[in-house]
């Protein structure tokens, strides 16, 4: 069953605040062999940790009709207003921007706004999710 077109424009509740620690950034950098030392800005894809939680909330919502195991990550983009650093407290708020059906798949365009403890925008993470219902 395709995802309801009424999903477009819907904004989901913000994720629980995520405290960025040096330990977490180091683990992320080390897993990908990225040079990083304490005090450096986090790698550019680190915000996915917070954005992923927002995407989980979308997929876990029973009214949306997305089956987690049928979702493939199609595209990802980040726009950084400033680098993420250890000590940041980040929250992500996801909005469904676009939805189209192609060959039985739902192509869901999402945008997650990551804000800091002051409410300032730090990063916009856009993900395209490809959902093949009943595949």
């Amino acid at each position: 069953m395709p995802v309801d077109a009424g999903l477009v424009g819907r904004t989901f509740p913000p994720t629980e605040p995520y405290d960025v620690t040096a330990h977490a950034v180091r683990a992320f950098a080390e897993a990908t062999g990225t040079p990083w030392t304490d005090g450096d800005p986090a790698p550019a894809t680190f915000p996915i940790v917070v954005a992923f939680a927002a995407m989980q909330a979308l997929m876990d919502d029973p009214t949306v009709g997305i089956e987690l195991h049928h979702v493939v990550h199609g595209e990802q983009r980040f726009v950084h207003e400033r680098p993420v650093v250890a000590g940041d407290r980040l929250t992500a708020e996801l909005t469904v921007e676009t939805l189209r059906q192609v060959g039985g798949a739902d192509i869901i365009g999402t945008s997650s706004a990551l804000t800091d403890a002051d409410g300032a925008l730090v990063c916009t993470a856009r993900a395209t999710l490809v959902h093949k219902a009943g595949a």
Partner: protein, 129 residues
């Protein structure tokens, strides 16, 4: 102005994917478990698309000499990177072409391949000064 950047090759093992799954909070078993990956029609365990995009960012950071210069980064995940078991793993090659516009904005158009085939669509980074 256009400059070709030195290509680099990165090795990816399943141990790296396990570490990345923990660090990124993405526990999808298709990135760790051969049986699950095959059950959903994949040729084997595949790297997270985000892992491969992180390697693209690593390449830019290594060239720049530090993190924090990337203001925009994005790509389409067009082809999976299959990671065989063992220390050999898979090799991902990254190269880039640097364009500097008249305002001094630097953009790196990347090419990311595994086994000679592109795995990311239009990977691109824009840098701050």
């Amino acid at each position: 102005m256009t400059t070709e950047l030195e290509p680099r090759t990165y090795r990816v093992t399943r141990a790296d994917l396990v570490a990345y799954a923990a660090a990124s909070g993405d526990p999808n078993p298709i990135h760790q478990d051969e049986d699950v990956a095959r059950a959903v029609g994949l040729p084997g365990v595949i790297a997270h698309g985000m892992y491969t995009l992180a390697l693209a960012a690593r390449y830019v950071d290594e060239w720049a000499g530090r993190s924090g210069r990337i203001v925009e980064l994005g790509a389409k995940f067009t082809r999976p990177v299959v990671v065989p078991a063992g220390e050999e793993g898979a090799e991902v090659s990254v190269s880039g072409v640097l364009h500097t516009d008249e305002d001094g904005v630097e953009t790196v158009a990347l090419t990311v391949t595994c086994d000679g085939q592109k795995v990311l669509g239009n990977p691109r980074a824009v840098l701050r000064a």
